[in-house]
Symmetry: C2
Amino acid sequence: MARIVMKFGGTSMAGIERIRSVAERVKREVDAGNQVMVVVSAMAGETDRLVGFCREASTLYDPREYDVVVSAGEQITSGLLAITLQAIGVPARSWLGWQLPIQTSDKHGKAQIDAIDTDALAASLDGGSVAVIPGFQGVADGARVTTLGRGGSDTSAVAVAAAIKAERCDIYTDVDGVYTTDPRIVPRARKLQKVTYEEMLELASVGAKVLQTRSVSLAMKEKVRVQVLSSFDDKPGTMIVGDDEIEDTTMESHLITGIAYAKNEAKITLTQVPDRPGAVASIFAPLADAAINVDMIIQNIAHSTGSTDVTFTVPSADLARSLDVLEKAQEAIGYKDLVHDTKVAKISIVGVGMRTNAGVASTMFKVLGERGINIQAIATSEIKVSVLIEEDYTELAVRVLHTAYGLDAEEETV
Amino acid sequence: MARIVMKFGGTSMAGIERIRSVAERVKREVDAGNQVMVVVSAMAGETDRLVGFCREASTLYDPREYDVVVSAGEQITSGLLAITLQAIGVPARSWLGWQLPIQTSDKHGKAQIDAIDTDALAASLDGGSVAVIPGFQGVADGARVTTLGRGGSDTSAVAVAAAIKAERCDIYTDVDGVYTTDPRIVPRARKLQKVTYEEMLELASVGAKVLQTRSVSLAMKEKVRVQVLSSFDDKPGTMIVGDDEIEDTTMESHLITGIAYAKNEAKITLTQVPDRPGAVASIFAPLADAAINVDMIIQNIAHSTGSTDVTFTVPSADLARSLDVLEKAQEAIGYKDLVHDTKVAKISIVGVGMRTNAGVASTMFKVLGERGINIQAIATSEIKVSVLIEEDYTELAVRVLHTAYGLDAEEETV
């Protein structure tokens, strides 16, 4: 008898009709002989409504009270799913964060899960009952309600699966899996059967909004087999697994697993920064102090004048703050001009196959060059190459790379 | 330093603007040097919404899961009020039912409060923090969420006041106090400064829907001074107190405190019931088994035939079920005809002054008789006389009695 976790998002829980179809899916897993835990989100729109109340009450709301308010959304859907399961003959009960308990840090509003007590849960499962667990919530010191931050229900599901050593954690969502790239841009994008945790992390953090990044990191750390699949049809989804479950990549025709893009970055260039030790630190220390995440960084070779240009990207949302911080630090850094550009996009090719194959990056540069797309910056990791280009070329770049790396499906898939 | 409980209903909590004005009221009590506990209802309409979800999910919903769902409404408002209080500089925190805890029986959906642990609460108050407590909810065996039944927040407030020995419990509502009768019928109805628990019980149970009956019983038992007042203006309300706080009633000009009416009862008459021991029991036992509350009962003198007519009232909502029960029991009871009438109203005069004054009831019968209003049944208690009349005469009866007992104000008050 296998233990599995099923997680349903807000769209799947939006109203009793949909909750009923969730219950039917859960019943199928129970009928197949599994012990099932279900982690649920709040009804679509509900968390926004509750967050809106908190913000209206005070822009500087107490995060402990915010947690009391917003955790109610998942409390409601967990009770409703338990009722709906019972109505179709499936024994079920809800287990709130403080009841299991799901112990978290006391960093309210973005708490980390420390431990999940599985004694009561295991006994309940062995007693033949489905456990319905509200996602996103926990309890700190056994005393105060906490929440994990937006999208935290994915993390709840993976954490429950890890704690109880579930065979797998199925994340039901409104897409039916992870694709080689955004099918809205490339109609011949293919759904991946498998993707590694690391690839998923790179794909998620650069734009594929299927799973919360944090839940993927946790799954990787805890070796939880995660499956992403659709709430609305019965097609198989995408399994997210360890490297060892992927066939020897050198034998594969596809070196690249997927292509991601992100338009929400802004490029900043400081010109004529003095080429001396400590100069770079004087740029990035004040940005770090302001909690601004700097992504790609390029330092050109020094000019003959003994100065250099430094280019980097920040999230567009942080651009104004970044400029403010840098203007104040102009004297300390000693740059000449501060130039910025929001009309940029980051294109990334991702794949574990890249590790054992040279030439993957050069193909990328060549293909983009042939189309007249200028590369403004490059960043690489072991399984990813990212380039910064002019935003208008985003779709073209993704499409030509998708073809160049042999990712196109025979037919349009979506 | 006095400890007081303030309770706000759903209309007062409907939206952040109103919660803000609740917070201002709380602040005034804090500024006056009081230690304040606030018991809150869900936003107006919210509990109906949540109950609706449960019913839609299953007509036979599990009351344990129902409690998980519907208790969320008060959880939300308690967090929001805490945030709003903090925003105007008043330290505050929410205390959920399981956190205090408010221990209840495990009769889910209509639990009884067993005990309230005041240690943490008192420490929090002494620390200068306002305690915001969601009404209507508790916890059974420290483990499962319970609710007290609709309107239970009044009971929560009185129970908290009793547990912590509060100086008084102020119930803020959308009326500004208890009136001598319904001002919509009698524009010269007067607001009462004081009313005894027993009078309030009689007035509430016969139609004055200001306070939940159960909360008044609890206040009487625990000797909690309750004040009913308006959320929307600053006029003094009505104090509900013990007999000992009412001046010697024999000296008062008003023997009668108030006049109530109820149109939601139905009259049932069984004709020619055998006049023998056990006959009456055979009528009311099956109704009691069906959990139908019988109110007024009149048994006429036996006919010369050795049989009698028995008349009684039941809530209109239970009429169909009552008739069904009685038809099935016809043979056992041995009655001839089953007659019913929903076009009836119960008019009650209520007052502790009645105890020491004969003639109060006869004035009632005389006044109604002069207006040609026929009395179909009479029931009396120590502080109440109720008569059943034809429904169409309700307003006339209330008006003439209000005048006859000297209750009319100098001017229209509402």
